[in-house]
Symmetry: C2
Subunit: 227 residues, 2 copies
DNA sequence: CGCGGCTTTGATGTTCATCAAGTAAAGTGG
DNA sequence: CCACTTTACTTGATGAACATCAAAGCCGCG
């Protein structure tokens, strides 16, 4: 699906407020949109960066393939996130992969067009700098925060992350496997399960397969803080 | 010390190649330069960001003050590094402190001037985007890399970091205390010392107070890789 | 149906933080 | 310049936290 029906897209206002009509038309001409099923890979680590892409709807994981065959999840990204902003200006190739955790729609714009726009339109560049700065800030802070927590604190952290930041609800369907949680917060899948069970026995959460209900958010917050 | 004697500064070519004479003069007018002794604090976490600053000479640490009274070192920065690029576009206040590890010279330019330049000069903005992207890439990669190594691997990593990236020499004076190493690579000072002693006993390094000599770089590399 | 991957639980051992105690070094005030 | 205080460094002993290994049940999928 290509073409220019972005006029009414709610993202236009957010990302391209400082872009002229003419520039915007240029963007739209090269724009592509694609849907991905849960589990499909959107970006493969090592591939050449040809597009500038942002997430319209859905949920994805950004992760690195390590030498030992394991993966390390860097960030979980949702609507309105630029999913390839990380290395787009520093490298020709993707430093990480992106895979859909839920059905997802991605918009693609030609990367050279964006680069030209940065050079010609300083206000757009400024917006991009701010956006990028916020995103990397968040990744750095989250990574450091996780790494200094103990395992119980880490599990509490992810549960609250999904409840508060992603689903805005204390009951939700986990979009990731236990193993993926482990890859995100630096621990083993066995311990993810063990601690989830502990929380269940302690009456802090209810578990039904992938469905999680936080029943004692206060206690979970304390664990996340102190852990 | 203020004023405009930047014409011959080696940093001009690096950072401001896409800046016009007129813009450059504006930069220079508001420029300040300041020297810091080893141990002096350059930036205090929480302070308002009023300047755009970069390191001319020396070595500094960027670190966060944590709630429990401890510190966490995010990055060690050297010449040519923008020391406040991290949150400069995302926040009004510094998210971290910066302290000199060696005698250091810092150049300051008014932040509003830079922001105006970004908006007016797209090529300058593009340079800045690239620089920022590289810096945050490196921080994220380093943080993730450290967090998945065991303690021996982490110590090997920092020793090689100082030898290769900072001093370009296998013998060097450690610019940080054992405690600061611990704050950088997420472990306790006791274990930093213990593992340094192990490496000494194994004949991998020689230690004389703060002076370190790497005598078996190959073995140290293997430990850093596998750890 | 059977295979492989995800999940769960238990047992075991290693790694690491914590505590304690002592030495060395470096700054501080008289 | 010396006694004093503080801070950094070092080593050992101990226990807790965590990874690893093993085994079995579950589920989806070809």
């Amino acid at each position: 699906m290509t073409g220019c029906n972005c006029e009414n897209c709610e993202l236009k206002a957010l990302f391209f407020q400082n872009v002229s009509e003419k520039e915007f038309a240029l963007l739209c001409d090269t724009r592509k949109e694609r849907n991905y099923k849960k589990g499909e890979t959107i970006i493969e680590q090592g591939a050449e960066i040809k597009e500038f892409s942002y997430l319209k709807t859905g949920l994805v994981k950004l992760y690195k393939h390590l030498d030992n065959g394991k993966n390390q999840i860097i960030k979980i990204a949702g609507p309105l996130d630029f999913i390839n902003l990380l290395s787009i200006f520093s490298d020709r190739y993707f430093q990480y992969s992106v895979t859909a955790l839920e059905d997802t729609t991605v918009c693609y714009v030609n990367i050279e067009t964006i680069k030209e726009m940065v050079k010609k339109n300083g206000n757009f560049a400024f917006d991009l700098l701010r956006k990028m700065s916020r995103m990397t800030d968040e990744i750095i802070n989250t990574t450091l925060e996780i790494s200094r927590k103990n395992l119980r604190g880490r599990i509490a952290f992810v549960l609250l992350y999904f409840a508060r930041s992603v689903y805005k609800n204390n009951t939700f369907e986990l979009p990731v496997s236990r193993k993926e949680i482990a890859e995100f917060i630096e621990m083993t899948p066995e311990n993810v399960i063990r601690i989830l069970s502990e929380f269940r026995k302690d009456g802090i959460i209810r578990i039904n397969g992938k469905e999680i209900s936080i029943t004692d958010e206060k206690r979970l917050s304390v664990i996340a803080e102190l852990g």
